[in-house]
Symmetry: C2
Subunit: 160 residues, 2 copies
DNA sequence: CAAATATATGTAGTTAACTACATATATTAC
DNA sequence: GTAATATATGTAGTTAACTACATATATTTG
């Protein structure tokens, strides 16, 4: 009985729990990069890694790829441009588009990060490979939400 | 092979993924309350629910209970006080302490929220009860981090 | 019991995402 | 081929957590 109350509280506070965990991991991530003497912020990862894989992308396609609203991507790109890790140029065909790519400095940084990534990946695996795997759980939940939103699911229960 | 790259990328971007999911769930939570015509923000939940369970608490003990830094709690309490959902009084014994409790309005709101919670709980269960249960995964990861931090685990790999 | 330390609360400023709105260019439809 | 619509980018302001610092009161120690 009391267990139900606790479960309810946990479920209702799930966004809070997720955010706290996110903050915690990000702070430690930053410390790990520092310990390796690398000037890199965890929040840069999705943008830089995507450009590393895909070479050249427009702002919106990059945003879609990493799952961010485009203004968030723009502000990350501003930082990365200031750090000279990326550069951008106009698309000759569709002049609305700004094409973004890694600079040499960016490519060099990403390759020097390889060993750090190995460490982070191992530590993350160690922490998340519990009975219920967190990464897989996130993937599954995101897939479920894509199929039918939280709000629609709730509304189905409301109409009963 | 490609699968490994995707996994590595996912693991490295874990804080980003967690935060995005958190944002998404919170936004939908707000919409659900709105749909019920209840003036309630998801972020209020941990504070109000804890006060509902424990009656009266100081600012710091409340913060510890919900796992927030105390300034975050103070700013939530300010909002809740403005909404007249909570009130506070000095601790007669230890005058440094501010004791916080629900007002009648707060208690009434929480009881009218009971049916909404049921809907949210059901929708959340539906979304999170996949093969790897998200709530359980969070609990497991938080327990693992409490035992040994992410940074310490990474450092163990660095020294090899 | 006075000084040093610890604890409780509070304020100011930061961060990293967001939404809403604005503008420029491209595409589609008549 | 022009008008209407859609798409791409950008700016401004918001949000909800945080850290760092400041102050007041309690507790501990010599």
């Amino acid at each position: 009985m009391e267990q139900n109350v606790i479960d309810a509280s946990g479920l209702l506070a799930i966004s809070t729990r997720l955010q706290r965990l996110s903050d915690q991991i990000r702070r430690d991530g930053l410390l790990i990069y520092k310990a390796f003497g690398i000037d890199f912020q965890p929040k840069w990862f999705p943008v830089l890694y995507t450009l590393y894989k895909k070479s050249t992308m427009s702002v919106v396609s990059l945003s879609d790829e990493i799952g961010y609203a485009h203004p968030s991507t723009i502000s990350l790109l501003k930082e990365l441009e200031k750090e000279k890790l990326i550069r951008s140029k106009k698309d000759k065909i569709d002049t609305r588009k700004r094409l973004v790519e890694l600079t040499e400095k960016g490519k060099t940084l990403l390759s020097t990060m390889e060993p750090v990534w190995q460490v982070i990946i191992k530590a993350t695996e160690e922490v998340t490979n519990t009975e219920n795997n967190l990464m897989k759980a996130i993937n599954e939940v995101e897939a479920a939400l894509q199929e039918k939103s939280f709000l629609l699911r709730a509304q189905a229960y409301m109409n009963k």
